[in-house]
């Protein structure tokens, strides 16, 4: 399974298209026929988009049977790294024997600059994650409000682009470069940082440490529990797969409680943490669970070491 097969998707395999729209009419002009075509072929359809656009599409599709599912992407896909395993794959696995269709709008104007690398990597990794699956994924982009950089990344992550002139191959399609290009050292925190070194003997201390910081930051008890699980998974990965120890750093920004795990490991496979256990399976590596529980996960990984930065939104942020 490689990123960006030159021969294109296998017949009936993955179709991954990006579309640029300037207003509601253009959004509906490209998405509604896609949904209707799916229904005409008897294919289950998922529409995952921000709430306002979801409502527009839903009203225009006007087919409220249970073959079309609607998901608010700002909730289900707030963490871009959550979308592949827990939104797209979850839907695919519910219909293992059928071709399915998905409208997925993962980027919106209110996304922050911090989230953009994760959004671009998410779009790029769709090509590798679902190369063997029977699915058409259609991604609308709001060209009137998104930045030129975001739109350039969209051209580089979708093998096929759709605009008013029709469908054409993207001349700049290069998903591996998008993944690699955003694998950069993470910005240095501007806020005071608390540090804890850990190893097998102190795995439980990692939980106490983040719990104290999360409670001091007034996170909801459910989110504190999520953070305990996420940090424990990453620290255990350091212990088992990355030399036996690592460093945890915790700080607070205006928007997030941030927990960063650094160790000597290397996440050489860009799909690490992007695929959930199959419908009939149990388990899943720690990282895919981490993606499910956090609001944003940023990763910088090289042969010299790996940094994983978890963000949980502060109450009221």
């Amino acid at each position: 399974m490689t990123v960006g097969q030159e021969a294109g998707p296998p017949p009936g395999g993955l179709v991954h298209e990006g579309a640029f729209y300037r207003d509601a009419a253009e959004l509906l002009a490209v998405t509604v026929p896609f949904v209707h075509e799916g229904l005409a072929h008897g294919e289950p359809v998922l529409v995952a988009a921000p709430q306002d656009r979801l409502a527009l599409i839903r009203a225009a599709v006007d087919a409220d049977d249970d073959r079309v599912r609607y998901a608010d992407m700002t909730v289900q896909g707030r963490n871009p790294g959550r979308i592949i395993p827990w939104v797209l794959q979850a839907f695919l696995d519910r219909h293992p024997d059928r071709r399915v269709r998905i409208v997925g709008e993962p980027v919106w104007a209110e996304r922050t600059e911090l989230e953009q690398p994760a959004c671009a990597q998410h779009e790029a990794l769709i090509n590798a994650a679902f190369a063997e699956r029977d699915v058409a994924i259609f991604c609308p982009y709001d060209a009137s409000r998104l930045t030129p950089g975001v739109l350039a990344d969209a051209r580089r992550t979708h093998p096929v682009l759709v605009d008013s002139a029709g469908r054409h191959p993207s001349p700049t399609f290069a998903p591996e470069q998008v993944v690699a290009g955003h694998n950069k050292p993470l910005p240095v925190p501007a806020d005071p940082v608390a540090v804890l070194r850990y190893d097998l003997d102190t795995l439980a201390d990692v939980r106490r440490f983040v719990t104290a910081h999360a409670e001091a930051a007034d996170l909801h008890p459910d989110r504190v529990a999520d953070l305990q699980i996420a940090v424990t998974e990453l620290a255990a990965n350091s212990i088992v797969h990355a030399g036996g120890d690592g460093v945890l750093q915790v700080w607070r920004t205006g928007e997030h409680l941030v927990c960063e795990i650094h160790d000597d490991g290397w996440l050489a496979d860009p799909l690490a943490g992007r695929l959930a256990p199959r419908h009939d399976g149990i388990g899943g590596r720690g990282l895919v669970i981490v993606q499910a529980l956090c609001d944003l996960v940023l990763v910088h990984s090289t042969s010299a070491g790996t940094t994983v930065r978890l963000h949980l939104r502060l109450a009221g942020a």
């Binding site: 795995l203 699980i229 212990i239 088992v240 419908h279 899943g284």
Partner: protein, 285 residues
């Protein structure tokens, strides 16, 4: 420092199976085990100390020297101090089932003698010298957990970090419900405790499960809900399980799916319920 370090063993009680990992020459393991044994003798427990790094005579001298008179205890059979290799690897070969059988006999004998409990110390350095396989050692440490579920016995296994390669030490320690060493703070308590319940058949779990004690957890699940359970439905009381990681949730999901007569969780906290949904999307919820 020494006093604090060995004081953590005062937190141990019958039912515990704890791994003591040490990596210095200061004799921390000897002090900790000595304190564990002294506490047992005071309570009238039967005590068996399987020695390795320190010979039996020196262990006895250490106890006597720390104000624990051994003469009467040895004379009436309350205390036995024997070389570990002669018990674990009797006949020159380590056979986990045989050792578990011997410990079972020990517990039954103590019950007949109306002792309130049994305390065991096992200095495990012999395992490396005898070339015991990681698989055998880990299977032994995992399966022996069932002997402690009834609260009749407690054990402290001593592992010298310098003797065991990491790929040996990690699964061996994780087969214990709790691991502790000389750097533990005063607030230390065993990470996980499990109590067998009779009606309904099952376990009550108290504490936390993560990568550091996963082997013990899965072995205990297998013991109450696995194929050898005489077709009895099992109930796990997880209301006092304060933390479970994704691996623990996966083990629970797998046990629930494969239990021959069913496995029911009671008292599931919201975090564990969410985690079960994530690791086992097809779960009954």
């Amino acid at each position: 420092m020494r006093v604090t370090a060995s004081a953590v063993v005062d937190q141990l009680h019958l039912g515990d199976h704890v791994c003591w990992v040490d990596d210095d020459d200061s004799g921390g393991g000897l002090h900790a085990a000595g304190r564990f044994v002294a506490g047992g003798l005071r309570l009238g427990h039967k005590v068996v100390w399987f020695t390795d790094a320190v010979p039996p005579a020196a262990v006895r001298a250490h106890l006597d020297g720390s104000g624990v008179p051994t003469q009467a205890a040895v004379a009436d059979g309350q205390l036995r101090i024997v070389p570990a290799v002669e018990s674990y690897a009797a006949g020159g070969r380590f056979t986990p089932d045989e050792m578990i059988g011997n410990l079972t006999t020990e517990i039954l004998r103590a019950r007949r003698e109306e002792r309130p409990g049994v305390r065991v110390v096992g200095d495990m350095g012999w395992a490396v010298r005898q070339g015991a396989s990681v698989a055998d050692l880990v299977r032994y440490e995992a399966e022996v957990n069932r002997l402690f579920l009834d609260g009749e016995a407690a054990a402290m296994c001593l592992y010298d970090r310098r003797l065991f390669p990491t790929d040996y030490l990690l699964p061996a320690t994780a087969a214990h419900p709790a691991t502790v060493g000389p750097n533990a703070g005063r607030a230390w308590a065993p990470m996980l405790r499990a109590y067998r319940t009779r009606n309904p058949h099952g376990l009550r779990l108290v504490g936390e499960v993560d990568r550091s004690n996963r082997g013990a957890f899965t072995a205990m699940l297998d013991h109450v809900a696995g194929p050898g359970t005489n077709q009895r439905a099992a109930v796990l009381d997880v209301s006092e399980l304060r933390f479970a990681d994704a691996g623990a949730a996966s083990a629970l999901a797998r046990a629930r799916r494969n239990a021959p007569s069913g496995l029911r969780l009671v008292g599931c906290r919201p975090a564990l319920r969410r985690l079960l949904d994530l690791v086992d999307p097809a779960s009954p919820a």
